[in-house]
Subunit: 198 residues, 2 copies
């Protein structure tokens, strides 16, 4: 949904920073669940990296002290049509540009590594009430070719692949993958190759 | 190393259940790090799944109450020669058989899913001072064909692929993958196909 201009000035107050990104995540998780049930792909959200400081083993290993760690990989990974898939979900509050500070240095390096080894890496960006698949290769190209600290919305609209919301599936990102990575031999012959290994 | 028979009766007392599996894990983590540095594969240990109950956001999001969750996938995953890889590391204290209770119901189902989608899934088993790559397909076959609750060591010796420990690399499981999955078209033409996607 788009926010009408007249409520724009109140919008910022309404952001709950604790839950930012949770809505998009929920819609992606729904898709992962649907794909798994329908046997279309095996993609999971990785557990949140947590550093455990203190555990009480006497009471069934209850953790008493821990902290959230900075992720060095992306949030979701798995397999689709025999291909390695990894991506992150990013809600963007700005209407004009996507801040690159959303992505940690380690994550850029990780995306580069995945691409080098023949995997598929991308971002799912929620911006201006729309969802886009933004390829990892386009992200790295932008960073290498620009000194900017954010990606203008016009670039996301131009290079990104729109993703559809579906009440049954959540955000149908597999359809976006099919579109974004068609051609270049990515998914050819997958029907034959995806037999069980023995 | 093998434990001489005369210290066998004391062995059980020495097991530290908190740290069981940590030694093997450390050697696998070393290999992952080496492979990443040498640009051979991108394989990470997933964060331990933790359920967060209480967080103090006032003090930099410190977690005050949390618990360890049962994993429904395997511990390590990533990409090697363009292929999706997932595996778990299991230290086995018994010398005679590997208890299947080591693997949760969800994990069997997950292995099945990975294989169906063309990925590679296996266990790294440490047993009798040796390391074996035991294929996911052999694990599922065993479970389907036997009512036993454990895999005899003789079966692991027969079907498993021995892995070498190396002071530089830790446990060199990529070499085991090359051996276990050679033939059947698994890694053919990977040099051409593993170019970066655009």
């Amino acid at each position: 949904m788009k926010y009408p201009n007249n409520i724009k000035k109140n919008y910022k107050k309404e952001i709950n920073y604790k839950n930012r990104g949770m809505e998009l995540e929920a819609l992606i998780n729904e898709a992962c669940k649907y794909y798994l049930e329908q046997n279309l792909a095996v993609i999971y959200k990785k557990p949140t990296p947590i550093g455990v400081v203190d555990v009480d083993y006497k009471n069934g290993a209850m953790i008493h002290k821990a902290y959230f760690k900075e992720p060095s990989t992306l949030d979701y990974n798995g397999i689709y049509k025999g291909k390695y898939i990894e991506f992150d979900a990013k809600e963007c509050a700005s209407k004009t540009s996507f801040p690159l500070s959303n992505i940690h240095e380690h994550q850029f390096k990780h995306i580069e590594n995945i691409l080098r080894h023949g995997g598929i890496a991308f971002l799912v960006i929620q911006m201006n009430g729309k969802y886009y698949l933004f390829k990892g290769s386009d992200l790295l190209d932008f960073v290498h070719q620009n000194a900017r600290k954010s990606i203008p919305y016009s670039v996301i609209e131009k290079l990104g692949y729109p993703l559809q919301f579906n009440y049954l599936k959540g955000i149908d990102y597999l359809k976006g993958i099919d579109e974004a990575y068609k051609g270049v031999g990515y998914f050819e012959d997958t029907k034959d190759k995806n037999k069980e290994e023995k």
